[in-house]
């Protein structure tokens, strides 16, 4: 995982509530055994018609959808399944952050493990962001947990302290957990040993 660095980007607005993981990447693409090659399947059924041609009015197919690193979505983004293919597809397309008024729990956890920053803002800020001109850019700085709007307004956003450290250092949780192996071993000694007799 690469360390998460500050960046500035235009936003791709998708002002819809409850965008679920079946829209982010439909289930028929989950038969893959790889993490790669999912960018073309991102929002597939909104993005392409039944012949596989791009739908010209879908935002990712417009100039605004190109080379932007921030998705500005409606409330409860990422609801539905636990598929980590959702953040894989979003990051492979080029997104580094998603801004919303709230996120579904599993998606949020999955995103943080894949260098995709879920940024929760208030309704007022959300409305203000949606009203910005197309070419407006926001600056996102994880270290200070701030987003800077074109007019200089600085918006603070919450991030779990542990996830923040992992993102800034570009490390994952597993290394940290593995270092706690002695504690895990000690805990296991207090437990009975197999499924047949557990709990």
């Amino acid at each position: 995982m690469k360390a998460f660095t500050p960046f500035e980007s235009r936003m791709v607005p998708m002002p819809m509530n409850n965008i679920d993981t079946d829209q982010i990447i439909p289930a028929r693409f989950l038969k893959t055994t790889s993490k790669e090659g999912l960018d073309k399947q991102l929002f597939c059924d909104w993005r392409y018609d039944s012949d596989g041609n791009p739908k010209p009015d879908f935002i990712l197919n417009t100039a605004r959808g190109q080379n932007a690193q921030v998705l500005l979505a409606g409330d409860n983004f990422g609801c539905g399944s636990s598929r980590e293919h959702a953040p894989w597809a979003l990051t492979q397309f080029g997104f580094r952050a998603v801004i919303s008024t709230s996120f579904a729990d599993i998606f949020k956890g999955n995103a943080l493990k894949n260098s995709l920053l879920p940024i929760v803002v208030s309704h007022d800020i959300h409305t203000k962001l949606l009203a910005l001109p197309e070419d407006a850019k926001v600056k996102i700085d994880l270290a200070s947990q701030t987003m800077t709007l074109p007019d200089g307004t600085r918006v603070e956003f919450p991030v779990d302290a542990f996830a923040k450290t992992c993102l800034l250092e570009g490390v994952d949780e597993l290394g940290w957990i593995l270092k706690r192996a002695p504690a895990i071993g000690a805990f296991e000694k207090t437990r009975v040993g197999s499924i047949n007799t557990l709990a």
Binding site: P15, S82, A104, I106, L174, T197, A199
Partner: protein
């Protein structure tokens, strides 16, 4: 008992804390890790890349459910990508020493059906699976989370999960359900009430007389859809119904160990005086059959009600969501859903594919015929459900009524295996998600109970089952 009164979920969570330190989430131990073919291959590859083993293969169980056909199991899988995924799970399980109830196992089935059925999931356990419907296992009083593939890898390697504390949310279902109303109607009513993000950050605990009166499989239906209300997990306190269900199951404790386990399990229910962060009450006496009309599970209405008018909603994004859902579903607001023609009926999924669900549907279909315009698919949740159904003569009832009775798997709930709606088709489904395209690109899903599904299969239109009882 010492200390502050605790809820069921707090007791289970606290008993599994391996390690705590400032600035980090709690490291909690996982008693049972369920694995399936879709969300695990990248996790096993991660282990290989790091040269790691599975820490506790004895606490890890795999099965194949999402990608496999529900047709004749003696035939090879036609879809090469699905076949590869299934083969990959078999290879991974062999390499890492994990028990795999694979395609040809007598224990194969939907992961959330076989866990409780085999007595693998027990009260007081922590259970995870790379699948959002893992909350199902909360029906036995386990704390069960759906996790992503990175966490699948973490648990394979360490048997642990990093967890921030959840909020506690009590759902009290009072009274008793009237004929024609079932567990599915409880959970659809709850999600319609709190919304699909209403339980975010929470573990739900279902209590009250209408919950206590449910059999275990009804409780599983309720807990299963906790995620559709946004919750991390859903639980029901273990009681005699739970113990009677688990007793004698293959992986349940036996003999003196059983007695000791039951004694421990009896201490799990929420203490008197324990505080929940949030509570809601649902009047079970007043519940009607519920059905969804829209494109998320919160868009549910009593079957006697009209489809809501977007103009009645003040929030602009919510109003847009209703308008978009009505357009996708090609429905008119202000009209009842009852009477709407149906192309497909699907009875199955980790929500409603257990023997009780099949019995309920078969009882209504016995001696009747399904409407010839409707394709009716009945998909048992596991090989064990299939065997039990045969013992009870249920396949004959389904087939005589004109249903397509199939082999166990997730099937048309997630439409990964070729079982899918055609664009524009309407289904009444006992599954858990009605998102756009969930049951096939362009397909339109009405979520409902097995009774409502069977009733609609008979009439060919969305039907209030109470008119057929």
């Amino acid at each position: 008992m010492s200390g502050n009164p605790k809820t069921l979920s707090q007791k289970v969570s606290d008993a599994h804390i391996v390690h705590e330190e400032p600035g980090a989430p709690s490291l909690i131990y996982i008693d049972l890790h369920l694995v399936h073919e879709v969300t695990s291959p990248q996790a096993f590859q991660g282990l290989r890349d790091r040269g790691l083993k599975v820490r506790r293969p004895d606490l890890t169980i795999a099965t194949t459910d999402h990608s496999i056909p529900t047709t004749d199991r003696s035939l090879p899988i036609v879809d090469p990508i699905a076949a590869n995924q299934v083969a990959q799970l078999e290879k991974n399980c062999q390499e890492f020493g994990i028990r795999n109830f694979g395609v040809h196992s007598e224990h194969q089935g939907i992961v959330h059906v076989i866990g409780p059925e085999l007595g693998l999931t027990q009260p007081g356990m922590t259970v995870v699976c790379g699948d959002s419907h893992t909350a199902t296992h909360g029906a036995v009083g386990a704390l069960a989370f759906g996790i992503g593939t990175s966490e699948v890898e973490n648990v394979l390697a360490t048997q642990c999960l990093l967890q921030r504390p959840s909020k506690t949310f009590r759902v009290n279902v009072t009274g008793s359900l009237k004929p024609g109303i079932s567990a599915k109607d409880i959970i659809l009513a709850l999600i319609a009430q709190i919304g699909i993000g209403g339980g975010t950050g929470c573990v739900l605990e279902y209590t009250g007389s209408a919950i206590s009166a449910l059999d275990m499989e009804g409780r599983m239906t309720v807990c299963n859809m906790s995620i559709e209300g946004g919750a991390r997990a859903g639980m029901i306190a273990p009681d005699d119904t739970t113990f009677n269900y688990l007793h004698g199951r293959e992986f349940a404790p036996k003999g003196a160990e059983w007695d000791a386990a039951v004694a421990r399990w009896r201490k799990l229910p929420t203490d008197a005086g324990a505080k929940f962060d949030r509570e809601v009450t649902i009047n079970g006496d007043a519940l009607e059959p519920m059905i969804t009309w829209g494109t998320n599970p919160g868009m549910g209405i009593p079957i006697t009600a009209a489809i809501p008018e977007p103009s009645s909603v003040s929030d602009p994004l919510e109003r847009d969501a209703l308008t978009k859902a009505l357009k996708y579903m090609d429905l008119q607001p202000g009209k009842p859903l009852a009477g709407h023609p149906v192309d497909v009926v699907f009875i199955g999924s980790c929500t409603n594919s257990r023997i009780t669900d099949l019995r309920i549907a078969a009882a209504l279909l016995k001696g009747r015929k399904v409407n010839p315009k409707v394709r009716v698919m009945v998909v048992p949740g596991s090989m064990e459900v299939k065997r039990q159904a045969i013992a009870e003569g249920l396949p004959e009832i389904f087939r005589a009524a004109g249903c397509d009775y199939r082999e166990p798997g997730c099937s048309m709930c997630i439409a990964m295996n070729g079982d899918q709606l055609q664009p524009g088709q309407y289904s009444v489904s006992t599954s858990n998600r009605n998102f756009e395209g969930r049951q096939g690109k362009g397909g339109r899903t009405f979520l409902a109970s097995p009774l409502t599904a069977a009733a609609s299969a008979i009439t060919g239109v969305v039907t209030d089952v109470r008119t057929l009882l």
